[in-house]
């Protein structure tokens, strides 16, 4: 799309930071500001920066690849919500626990985080689908 050297360099540096920021936002989400939705938006921005610099590259256009991402996210969220019913608990029962790891200390594992991951994936998929579709028109 654009051959700007400055933009390309800036994106090369900022993109990993953005991805990392998204990961932090996601992991922190349960206890500090952040969460799947925001992390999803940050990731989408990172993906889009790449789009600005490299265009669609040699990606096969015309295929709704990212719709599958949306479907996967929805499926993950739905499965997390359905899983407790297999154990006889009501729909959407979340559980959480803590495990102790060496070096890292106490880490929380929550099924809600899996659901949040579904939200994250859907948000990324949605934004990228729409923007890719809009931009690959020409």
């Amino acid at each position: 799309m654009n051959d700007s050297l400055i933009l390309a360099t800036a994106v090369r540096i900022t993109r990993p930071v953005l991805f990392l920021f998204a990961v932090v936002l996601f992991l922190k989400g349960h206890n500090a500001p952040g969460g799947g939705f925001i992390a999803g938006l940050v990731t989408a921005v990172a993906v889009l920066l790449g789009l600005f610099v490299h265009g669609h590259g040699n990606r096969k256009t015309g295929r709704p690849t990212f719709l599958y991402v949306v479907a996967a996210g929805l499926g993950l969220a739905l499965l997390t919500a359905l899983a407790p019913t297999l154990l006889g608990w009501p729909f959407f029962t979340h559980s959480f626990g803590f495990i102790n790891l060496p070096l890292l200390g106490s880490i929380e594992l929550a099924s809600a985080a899996l659901f949040d991951l579904g939200v994250y994936v859907v948000v990324v998929g949605n934004v990228v689908t729409v923007l890719y579709a809009l931009t690959e028109r020409r």
Partner: protein
């Protein structure tokens, strides 16, 4: 695991598994047949008392809903019929379908249907029954449209879905009325509460609505239109769904709910009238068909009418006769459909007038067709004779006009049966296509069905006397007085039978053979087509009237709705605002940020170019984010920042699609727009402030804050609410996101293709 549950669940388990097979894999058919056989064996074990007949599967108990199964003798009778015929049809279809057909899909749909149909007959709860009822309509839609590249298939599939689906919805309304009046949806409980229903003014409407469900599903006049169109389905489907099982769902419901609903005076006469008229009129239509499948379709409708007449009174003797004829019909009609499938397969035509002499070319096929047709005609000593005698017995006691209709129906039935059997024997085209008898794998399933209907003629009581008596007891609550026999002694019904057969033969010989009148277009068909076309054009016109595609109109409508909503609330409740609507006082920073937001909004309005407008709008949005941050809402602030950030590339991408930026075009409407915007903004702000200042209940937020760590293990309340406390809402929202992505993608692709096509 109880055998009933196992048998009912088996088809639903097998259905998705089948999709894993490769396309031309015939083993998909064998697996389906095995599933049917397994379910059949389970039902036999239940029938023999080796396994409990009821399984409790609670669903939503506070609403009185359950998926409990109750395999009483009536349900077992149907379940055995479904799985038995299902087995034969699956076995037949396995060798019948061409090797390039999509086997996994076909058999997956077939199993889906089998499971739904078993659900209909086994459910002990009306709502569960309704769910399965609609699922049979849906799977029938899929199966009729199996050859979806054909226009007629899609037309027939849609028609079947529209007719049976709308009847099903009417029935749901009836179920809700019955359930509300009687205080339960459990069929066993309902059966004891007939008195409650009889005393209620809702009884008649409820009965009429349920009748609507019955007559649409069982294709009674004037809803018979969907069955002939459904003949576009592959022949095994026609044999299974549209002769042996699905169209019997309506009859099953009549037998099941008869004791409850026959307290409504209208119930029995209405159903009997539907049945008699359908039997006679569609017998007449069947006689005029040249297409063998159409002939069988109309004949099926006619026979369903006959059974409906027998089941409508909910008395033990007629019910037993009705169930016997139902079984007979499933056997001979199922066999006939399969055999017509064989003919089509061998001769590549279904036209009766193009057939060669079958007795010489395909002797076994013809023999089976002839035997099945004779049973349908009610010729002794076939099974059809036994049940038709009982039918004539029942009606000759009644009103003379009804008796006349019944005999006329029997005459017409005999006539088209002779036309079928004898017409095929000689063939109208000696030089017609010459086929030969197919392999035993294709002849065996129909042969077994024919053997069943012949056997039912010779030993009706020995074969099915006991189970029929049990089913009748379960359906009506009282025992049968008589028993089945092929010889009833000389009486009015025997004379009527003899009359019907001889006049039918004469009608065929003297009139039909000379000239087959052309098949008429159904009046019901024309009404349906017209109604559907009108619905479509009118819906399009209505949508076009408010979907102008002009953005400011949409915005005006939305804002007006807000204003009217606020105005209604204020007018009815009065506007009261106490102190303390704000949780904190605005500091200098807040004011500065608000001022920036307002200035940016004004700048958006004044912008001469689109890019300037977008940038100004972004400034306004970022100011808002700052305000959120100042108000100790970091999650909101972060989200707002991200949304604003993504809006920029979004706008950039959309730029190419947009027409030139014309601020002046709507200048005249500007004062009005300003008024709307100010009123909506001010109204919303005041409403929020007012509602915050007068709490009528404790805010729920404190509960969330308290429980967040203990119950959900998270310190970020916003996130905990999103993924845990209000997780279902979020699931709904991300579903909307997904749908929006698909819609955006589709619209953009459509636009590009449109432009590329130009």
């Amino acid at each position: 695991m109880p055998a009933v549950f196992l048998a009912a669940a088996l088809p639903f388990v097998v259905s998705p598994v089948l999709l894993l097979f490769r396309r031309p894999d015939r083993r998909a058919g064998l697996l389906s047949a095995a599933a049917c056989a397994g379910a059949f064996a389970c039902f036999v074990s239940v029938a023999l008392g080796a396994s409990p007949a009821t399984v409790a599967l609670p669903w939503i108990e506070p609403l009185g809903l359950s998926f409990s199964l109750n395999a009483d003798p009536l349900a077992l009778f149907f379940a055995l019929l479904i799985t038995g015929v299902g087995f034969l049809v699956a076995a037949f279809a396995t060798s019948y379908l061409d090797s390039n057909e999509n086997f996994p899909r076909f058999f997956s749909f077939l199993m889906l249907f089998t499971g739904s149909m078993l659900g209909v007959v086994l459910s002990s709860n009306l709502m569960a029954l309704f769910v399965f009822w609609e699922m049979t309509s849906f799977s029938s839609f899929l199966l009729i449209g199996f050859w979806h590249h054909r226009d007629r298939s899609r037309y027939g599939a849609l028609k079947a879905l529209v007719v049976t689906g709308s009847g099903g919805l009417a029935m749901l309304l009836g179920f809700v009325m019955v359930g509300t009046v009687c205080g339960s949806f459990e069929i066993a409980v309902l059966a004891e509460r007939g008195a409650l229903l009889a005393a209620s003014p809702w009884a008649t409407p409820a009965a009429l609505l349920i009748i609507a469900g019955v007559v649409t599903k069982s294709a009674q006049l004037p809803f018979h239109l969907w069955l002939p169109s459904a003949m576009e389905a592959p022949t095994p489907v026609s044999a299974f769904l549209h002769a042996a099982t699905m169209v019997k769902a309506g009859l099953f419901l009549v037998a099941r709910l008869g004791p409850l609903l026959s307290v409504v005076p209208l119930w029995t006469p209405t159903l009997s009238l539907f049945g008699l008229l359908t039997m006679t009129w569609c017998g007449w239509l069947a006689l005029r068909q040249k297409d063998l499948k159409a002939l069988l379709a109309f004949s099926t409708v006619s026979q369903l009418g006959l059974i409906l007449v027998l089941l409508a009174p909910a008395e033990p003797d007629t019910t037993a006769a009705g169930l016997l004829h139902l079984l007979n019909h499933a056997c001979f009609k199922g066999a006939l459909f399969l055999l017509v499938g064989v003919l089509e397969h061998e001769l590549h035509t279904r036209d009766l007038s193009l057939m060669g002499p079958l007795r010489r070319n395909m002797p076994f096929t013809w023999l089976l067709i002839a035997l099945a047709a004779l049973s349908m005609a009610g010729v002794p000593p076939m099974g059809g004779f036994v049940s038709k005698e009982l039918f004539l017995d029942h009606l000759l006691d009644g009103h003379p006009l009804l008796a006349l209709l019944a005999v006329a129906g029997a005459v017409l039935t005999a006539a088209y049966c002779f036309a079928l059997a004898a017409g095929l024997a000689a063939g109208r085209r000696p030089d017609g296509p010459r086929g030969q008898d197919p392999s035993p794998s294709l002849l065996l399933p129909p042969a077994l069905l024919v053997a069943a209907t012949v056997g039912l003629g010779f030993f009706p009581d020995q074969l099915v006397g006991t189970p029929m008596a049990a089913a009748t007891l379960a359906a009506t609550g009282s025992s049968v007085t008589g028993h089945f026999a092929v010889w009833h002694g000389v009486g009015p019904s025997l004379w009527a039978s003899a009359f019907a057969i001889s006049v039918g033969a004469a009608l065929w010989w003297g009139w039909w053979q000379k000239r087959v009148p052309p098949a008429p277009t159904l009046l019901a068909d024309r009404v349906y087509d017209y109604a559907l076309e009108q619905l479509e054009t009118r819906a399009r016109r209505l949508t076009a009237s408010y979907m102008s595609g002009i953005l400011w109109r949409y915005c005006s409508v939305i804002l007006l709705t807000v204003i009217v909503g606020v105005a209604v609330v204020v007018a009815s409740q009065g506007f009261v605002m106490h102190d303390g609507w704000s949780s904190r006082h605005a500091g200098p920073w807040d004011l500065a940020v608000c001022a920036t937001a307002i200035l940016a909004a004004l700048a958006t309005l004044r912008a001469r170019t689109r890019l300037a407008a977008i940038l100004a709008l972004g400034a306004s949005g970022f100011s808002l984010a700052l305000l959120f941050a100042l108000s100790a809402a970091p999650d909101l602030a972060l989200t707002q920042i991200m949304v604003e950030t993504i809006s920029v590339p979004l706008f950039l991408a959309v730029f190419a699609f947009l027409p030139p930026y014309q601020v002046d075009r709507v200048r005249r409407a500007r004062p009005l727009h300003a008024l709307l915007a100010v009123a909506a903004g001010l109204g919303t702000a005041l409403l929020l402030a007012a509602s915050r200042s007068q709490r009528v209940a404790e805010p729920i937020s404190s509960y969330f804050v308290d429980k967040s760590v203990d119950a959900a293990g998270g310190h970020n309340v916003v996130n905990v609410i999103l993924v845990d406390f209000r997780g279902l809402d979020t699931l709904g929202e991300i579903t909307v996101l997904g749908v929006a992505a698909i819609a955006c993608y589709a619209i953009i692709k459509l636009l590009s293709e449109k432009e590329a096509g130009r």
